[in-house]
Symmetry: C3
Subunit: 279 residues, 3 copies
């Protein structure tokens, strides 16, 4: 059913039992398979493929050459009835050449860069951002307001809590003795920050309000407020002693100093946290 | 010649002198150039381009937005008759957005992730797996049952023997004094394991049954059974002393402890090796 | 206006106010939006999208599945009249699956690998080469004859002068205390070489004729002729003492020993530099 659609490009192919919301626009050569729902005001750019069973809520944008709801391995094996629905909340901004598998649940305000891969059985909260070339390998749980920059690799069984920042090139490992069948995921706690090209070994925890320096190889748990760096990483500072290089003011815990795109954007963390507590 | 084909999608373009085996299925917008052979029961997904001279054996699957048989540089220069055939054995599973150049020879049971690039003059054995974003830069020789995980970079003149595991983010370098014209490839011997984000400098050998720890920068040859780690990497253990973190059992040499998808999958390495010897 | 075009593939879509030079060839399913200019003898391969306002000069080649002139964020916000022209000089060789945003200015003889991303407000000189998966995040200035190998990450506010080489996996950072709004770009000076997987911290300068060793984490400025290595990087040699591993001859400053694809290709740097001086 097409309900007051917007502009539909040339050569589009639309399957059966498809519901397009009001003002949905499709670029040229878009392929929408069966049993797909696209919310109002959503734009799907050229050549993008939306596979069977995808539900994408309204006000979303999907760039060109993407694949949403990509087939799982059982499809290749010819298993009958192997549909794996993918559900993505509204206000998504998914950039070109991104591939997201079926059987995942993703919150509102997802943002991806280009060439992002998100495998099956990934559970992402709201306001998650995943940069260019980042690779979420499935079987992961990622909270709200998490920012993965570019080229991050989140191996299976990783857990990332709310308000975590990963700089580019971070790797969360899972196999302590490769190759093995005994995986141990990394756990990054809320408000932690992991610097560029840092490597977190399998099973390690990076605790709240800690900072892993760029280039660190983390072989032990990182305690709250610790700054660790080097290969292997050692404690090099207390996060509360680090100053902003330009202003000379304390830089951490960052939630007291950085507001952009956070839920406390206009009022600051302290006022917001008090208001949350009062609810 | 189309021989009892399966389902052919809309807007497909099929060149001259093309042989499609029985039950070959093409998704929408697939482009098959001239002189291509696709074996029985092969599936090519949407928007994929199979360039002139590609031979892909049966029971293979190629995801959407791939390019097989990509043009070499002489094509850009307008050289006449510059076809460079690509031959890929049966049972391949090639995931979306992968690009494989012409002039390579790849065995059976190839598996690629998404966004994989394999340049020309690459020789891959059977049962090779190449993860997301991995980049085989050509002029390489890779054996059988080799597993490259994601984001590995195999520079020109690298050699990887059978049963080698590279964790994600590994780099095999080739230029000792960049920029120069005097390349020296890395050689990884059978049963070696290289950990995540390890860097192997040009010309170095990583010998059989050794383990390069995650994050290591390898500046010297790695001897059999050695475990090396750090920047620069030093010997930190004997591989035979490393235990599985969960079971407490020895973890290496891994072939005695890990069977999944190996030729000794059901009988274990020792029985299999004896049987091989007896042949 | 189509001016003596070459071969145009099937299902191409060509917008308004488009000027195709003589002998321009389009592969199948190419999309050319409005107000595009393509110079003579240019080839655009299958499925590639050239967005509104792109100007690509002659004798260029664009591989399949690329996007040139990609939308900026204001387009997603529905800002009217938000065209951002992209201008790329002649003799470009842009490989498949590359994405280049609008609002950038790129010189002649650009070469990209596959899956390259170049964001808006990037200024690249002539003869710049950007390898597979390299990620130019915008707001950068890159000089002439700069070679980025594969998987390099050039964060915003980076500056790279002429004749610089980055080996694969290099990262130029910009945020000293992430997350913050106080970015400090890296500056790489002419004739510097940065080895594989090196990480340059925000605001650092890598000065002329220096060499950053593979795997180094650079936390301080690198002085001319210095070789630095390790994590954190320390001075480990003088560049003038490094020999080519095969010939035993001095390898640096490299401009006296390496000519390929440089402006002094046939005459050597010294003669060329004298001739330049005399002009």
């Amino acid at each position: 059913m097409v309900n007051k659609p917007g502009k539909i490009g040339r050569n589009c192919i639309i399957g059966e039992d498809v519901i397009l919301g009001e003002n949905v626009c499709l670029g040229h050569n878009v392929i929408i398979e069966d049993h797909v729902r696209l919310g109002d005001n959503t734009v799907i750019e050229e050549n993008t493929i939306v596979r069977g069973g995808v539900e994408l809520f309204g006000n979303s944008y999907v760039g060109a050459n993407c694949i949403l709801g990509e087939h799982l391995l059982d499809w290749h094996k010819g298993t009958p009835n192997c549909t794996h629905p993918l559900r993505i909340g509204g206000h998504a901004l998914i950039r070109s050449h991104t591939t997201i598998y079926g059987n995942s649940e993703i919150g509102e305000h997802l943002q991806t860069g280009h060439y992002v891969s998100i495998r099956e059985n990934s559970n992402l909260g709201n306001h998650v951002s995943v940069g260019n070339y980042s690779d979420i390998q499935g079987e992961v749980k990622i909270g709200n307001y998490v920012r993965l920059h570019s080229n991050d690799r989140i191996e299976q069984y990783s857990q990332i809590d709310d308000y975590v920042w990963l700089a580019p090139g971070v790797e969360l490992c899972n196999d302590p003795t490769p190759p093995s069948n005994d995986m141990m995921g990394v756990h990054i706690h809320s408000f932690a920050v992991v610097g560029a090209k840092a490597l977190i070994l399998p099973g390690r925890e990076v605790k709240s309000d800690s900072l892993v320096a760029a280039g660190a190889v983390v072989t032990k748990d990182v305690e709250p407020f610790a700054v660790v760096g080097g290969n292997p990483a050692k404690v090099i500072a207390d996060i509360r002693d680090i100053k902003n290089k330009k202003t000379g003011e304390p830089a951490y815990p960052w939630r007291y100093h950085f507001n952009r795109a956070m839920p406390w954007d206009e009022i600051g963390y302290e006022v917001w946290a008090l208001a949350m507590k009062a609810q």
